[in-house]
Assembly symmetry: C2
Homo-oligomer: 261 residues x 2
DNA sequence: CGACCATCTTGACTCAGATCAATGTTCGAT
DNA sequence: ATCGAACATTGATCTGAGTCAAGATGGTCG
C-alpha cells in the first residue's frame, strides 16, 4: 500500500505530480471517494454495491515513465482503470514494427483485449508517472452475476471500446493527415473536458513518434502538421504543451474531407 | 416460420442456396442441431443450458440481398448470429461517406457495437440471401447471470471483436495495398476453413467497391491488385469466384512490409 | 555546467495509390 | 434474346505523404 503525499490542488503545475486525480482526500483510496467515480463506475450501483466492487479492486504501485503495466502474451487475469497519468498500448507486428493502439487517460479502462484468448494482445506502458487500479477479472465476473448493473456496465465498456476502434478505423481508412491529427487533438480535448480539465490547453503526454504511429503517419508529417496548424492559427504548440485556439475551426478541419463530397 | 427446401449437399453449386448451413436437418431449427454450433456457442454449456439459450433465440425470415438487418441509430435490443449467407456492416460518416466496418459469415455475431449506447452504431445489410438468429440482449443478460460460462463466452466474443478491430487498425495504419488485400483473402480463407469449407476456393460475396472501402483503397486499386496477384500466380479470379493457388506465398505477401525491416 | 542522446523540425526528392476518363462485363428485368 | 444499370477493368496523370538527410532543441546525468 502506498501512502501518497497530501497535495493541495493548484490547477497549474499539473504535470509534476500526476497522482492527484482519482486519489481520495484522506490518503486512503476507495472507489466511493474517487474523484473519477462517475467516469469508470456504473452510476447505477448503490453505495453498498460500490463497496463490494471496491473490495475486489487492488491499487498498484505507481508506474514510472516507460514501465510496463503488462506485456503482450502475459497471462490475462485483470483489467485496469487508469487513476492518474497516461498509458499507451501497443502491439508488435509479425515483422517487428510497433503499432500504437491507443492512449488512455484517468477514468479509462484498459486490458479488455485479453479476455478473448486469456492472454494480453497488446502491451501497456506508462507515458508518464501513472497509477492504476487492478480489477481481477475472475472476481469481476463472479460479482457481475450478482450485480446485473455491473455486468451491463462492463458489456457497455467493451462495446464502447469496439465503437472507438471503429472510429479509428474510419479515420485511418478515409481521412487525410490533417483530419487525423485534428481528430486526435479533439479527442484528447473532449476527454479532458470530461474530467473537468481545460478542453483547450493541455499537455500531450506522448511523443510525436507515438502520435504518428497511432495515426498511421510518419514523425515528419506529424511535425509538419503541428507547424501548419500553428501557422493557420488553429493552435499554439510549445513542445508537448498545446493550446487549441479555435475548436470550431479544428472540428471543421477534422470533418471536411478532401475527397468527393 | 420458413420451411426450407431439403437440399442434398454437393460441394459445388454452393452459391445458389445459401440457406443450407446452420439449418437443422429436420427442418426445425434449434441450437443443439445447428451445424455451426461449436462456432457461435460456448462449448462449455451443457445440453440443458443450450436449450435454455435456445428458448430466447428467435429465427428470423431470410434477408434478400441488399435488405437491412438493422440500421444505424435503430434502438438496440438484440445481437445477431449469422446462420447462412453474408452480412456487411457499415457506418455513414459526418460527411456522408460510407465506411465498411466488417464482413460477417455464418457462425459470427454482429450488433455488439450497439450495447454501449443503446443504439446501433452501424448498419447491417445482406450481401446475398442471408438468415440470422436474433438473440435478445436483455434476456441474454439475465440468462448470463445464471450461466457463468455464457457470460464468459460473451465477454470473450466482444473481446475478440476488439482484437479483430485492432488487427484491422494495424493493417490500415502500416500496410501496403498488397498486404491489405492479401490479409483479407487469408481472413476469408481461414473463416471458411473453420466452417469446414474450402480454404482455397470460394466466392467473395461483396463487391470490389466494398472491399476497397473496407481496406481503405479505391475500387481501381483493388481491381489492379487482383490482376497483379493473378499475373503473379498467387490466385485465379473469375469475377467474385477466387481460387488461392499458393497460400504460403500469399501469407508472405501479407506479412512482408515494404518499409524498413 | 557541459556533453550526450532523444526527440523534434525543416527541406529536397520520390513514389504508391488516388483521380480522371474511357471501355468492357455481368446480371436481372422484360 | 435484348436492354440498361451496376459493377469491373485498364490506362494516363497527379499528388499527399513517405523517405532521406541535415540541423535544432531539449532533457538528463555525471
Amino acid at each position: 500500500m502506498v501512502a501518497h503525499k497530501a497535495m493541495t490542488h493548484t490547477s497549474k503545475d499539473a504535470d509534476k505530480d500526476t497522482l492527484r486525480e482519482g486519489c481520495a482526500k484522506d490518503g486512503f483510496e476507495h472507489c466511493r471517494n474517487c474523484l473519477l467515480g462517475a467516469i469508470c463506475l456504473p452510476i447505477a450501483l448503490t453505495s453498498k454495491d460500490v463497496d463490494l466492487l471496491d473490495n475486489i479492486i487492488e491499487r498498484k504501485h505507481p508506474l514510472q515513465r516507460g514501465e510496463h503495466l503488462y506485456r503482450e502474451k502475459d497471462h490475462f487475469s485483470a483489467v485496469y482503470a487508469v487513476r492518474s497519468g497516461a498509458i499507451k498500448t501497443y502491439h508488435i507486428t509479425d515483422d517487428g514494427q510497433e503499432q500504437v493502439n491507443g492512449f488512455f487517460f484517468p477514468g479509462e479502462i484498459i486490458g479488455m483485449d485479453g479476455i478473448g484468448c486469456g492472454r494480453f494482445c497488446s502491451s501497456a506502458t506508462a507515458l508518464e508517472t501513472t497509477s492504476v487500479c487492478e480489477i481481477p477479472f475472475e472476481k469481476l465476473g463472479e460479482l457481475s452475476t450478482r450485480l446485473p448493473s455491473l455486468q451491463r456496465h462492463f458489456f457497455q465498456l467493451m462495446s464502447q471500446e469496439i465503437t472507438e476502434d471503429q472510429k479509428l478505423i474510419t479515420l485511418l481508412s478515409k481521412s487525410s493527415s490533417e483530419q487525423r491529427l485534428a481528430a486526435l487533438l479533439l479527442s484528447v480535448s473532449a476527454r479532458n473536458a470530461r474530467r473537468n480539465l481545460s478542453e483547450t490547453r493541455f499537455r500531450l503526454p506522448m511523443s510525436r513518434t507515438d502520435i504518428g504511429n497511432y495515426l498511421g503517419l510518419t514523425v515528419e508529417t506529424v511535425s509538419r502538421l503541428f507547424t501548419r496548424f500553428s501557422h493557420n492559427g488553429l493552435l499554439t504548440v510549445d513542445n508537448k504543451e498545446v493550446a487549441l485556439l479555435d475548436l470550431d475551426r479544428l472540428r471543421h478541419v477534422a470533418s471536411v474531407n478532401r475527397y468527393k463530397a
